[in-house]
């Protein structure tokens, strides 16, 4: 089977862009990715595009060129971009296309996501009585995790401070003002133990990747980034998951993150010890802590020491969320995971400028997680 490689990446800044439609941000990101790859739109043979707010993201063809290209819409909540890149890679691997594109775009209104529980197959009372908030899950999961594994409030604040600090070095990030651990610990609690400056917010942005067959990459770039594996898993019975009015007693079943991560490592023939840089879903600071362990990058509880030592900072031995992550960039759902891959590609090319990690990174890792209990992992390498 042919391998898929990334030859072009494009990112529209994340943040707030009043008056600019999501499709325009998406078209900007696509043009940047095409220019980066040195190809033009009519050469693209197929692709996948994801969005939460735009019901017909494939309408982007009207901005890019009406070439008749098969552009398929995809959606998996916060893991949407994982699906877009996986299917674009699959279209190359199977020989369907030689050049394909993955696109994500979104434009969320301010404030927490508000939806009727029926969209998640949950009765109305769950929303009426104030239980249908994904932030409850994040607060409850990290509260239990801190209790079981000795993670401190300071560690949560250090994660947030790191990601805002990284975002300050990223001209395309949203939250670019560095915040100290003390400032973060002084912000109001939203959902115990999580505070205002420990949460990401929904915002706007777009990203795109151009993929081609590995054996043709030399025509476009000297530094292709290989897609070593993609995996997506949904929750299993017994896992503690977002938007669950109840779940079974007994041994807690692993999160879909653990399942997707194991599958991705196995398919890639790469282990956690090989990862040089990781982008993990940091919906909140606690999520980043938990996801370090769930993705096999450390043992439960080790985060307390690793984060205190600075291991996850740009100069550390396992840099995490070098572009600021979701905390620094916000989360335009359809684009978020492609933003992660964009960052890994820059790091592996050695072109991440102020936030470039030292040495010669070879393996990058990206991870998404969200409602209704779905996770996507993509492993990349030089």
């Amino acid at each position: 089977m042919t391998e898929a490689v990334i030859i072009g990446v494009g990112l529209h800044p994340f943040g707030r862009f009043p008056g600019k439609p999501a499709l325009d941000m998406g078209a900007d990101a696509v043009r940047l990715a095409l220019a980066d790859a040195g190809v033009n739109w009519p050469q693209i043979q197929g692709g996948y595009i994801g969005s939460y707010e735009v019901a017909n993201p494939d309408a982007i063809v009207a901005r890019l060129g009406l070439t008749g290209v098969p552009l398929r819409g995809v959606f998996n909540g916060c893991a949407t971009a994982g699906t877009a890149v996986a299917l674009a890679a699959r279209s190359i691997e199977t020989g369907e296309h030689d050049l394909a594109i993955a696109i994500g775009l979104d434009k969320h209104p301010r404030g927490a996501f508000a939806a009727d529980p029926s969209v998640a197959g949950i009765p109305s009372w769950y929303g009426q009585t104030g239980l249908f908030l994904t932030t409850h899950f994040f607060g409850m999961k990290i509260n239990r995790y801190m209790h079981d594994h000795g993670i401190s409030h300071e560690t949560l604040a250090r994660v947030a401070a790191k990601n805002f600090g990284n975002a300050a070095r990223n001209e395309k990030a949203w939250r670019r003002t560095p915040l100290s651990v003390a400032e973060i610990l002084a912000s109001p609690v939203l959902n115990h133990p999580l505070r205002q400056y420990m949460y990401c917010g929904p915002d706007e942005g777009a990203a795109a990747l151009v993929l081609c067959r590995a054996d043709q990459a030399h025509k476009y770039t000297g530094k292709p980034v290989r897609i070593r594996s993609t995996a997506l898993r949904s929750r299993r019975l017994g896992a503690f998951e977002v938007q669950s009015p109840s779940f079974p007693v007994g041994e807690i079943v692993a999160s879909p993150t653990v399942d997707a991560s194991r599958e991705a490592y196995e398919r890639a023939g790469i282990g956690p010890e090989d990862v040089d840089v990781a982008q993990l879903q940091d919906t909140d600071a606690g999520s980043e802590v938990i996801h370090m362990a769930e993705n096999g990058l450390c043992k439960d509880g080790e985060q307390e020491r690793l984060i205190a030592e600075g291991a996850t900072e740009i100069g550390g031995r396992l840099p995490v969320n070098t572009d600021g992550g979701l905390l620094g960039n916000g989360e335009p759902i359809g684009a978020s995971g492609l933003r992660q891959i964009h960052e890994i590609v820059l790091q592996l090319r050695g072109t991440a400028k102020d936030r470039q990690i030292p040495g010669t990174p070879r393996v990058g890792y990206t991870h998404l997680y969200g409602a209704p209990g779905v996770s996507a992992v993509t492993i990349l390498s030089t």
Binding site: S124, T129, N191, V249
Partner: protein, 147 residues
Amino acid sequence: MTTTQKPVAEGLFTWPPDGSAPLRLIGSECVACALVSFPAAQDCVRCASAESKERLLAERGTLWTYTTQNFRPPSPPYDGPEAFEPYAVGYIELPGELLVEARLTEQDPEKLRIGQEMRLTLVPYTVQDDGTEVVTFAFAPAEEETP
């Protein structure tokens, strides 16, 4: 003057409260594999059987985890009072049955601890324009006596 109360939904908990029929959550049990579900579900998510029977759940359990809600949730779907009072939510492990998510009567996280004993109660969480109190289930620390 009496206050009229009504449950937020039918079939969620035993109603009306009555000395002969104590308050319980109404769950279900799969006839084929005995998986307990809440709210009651006809179809089993473990064995895919479409046959279940009603099961009233235990009224006591232990607090598995918790958090607080310190800002007013978006409306809709939330239909609590405009004047927002923070509340806490948690998962209570009902031994041998399931872990159920519920509002807690204690909203101070310093007064809650993982593993503590909890018992089922009802709370009027909002009042309709005609004065009717809408009641939902909640769990209270077991050592705290509530009417």
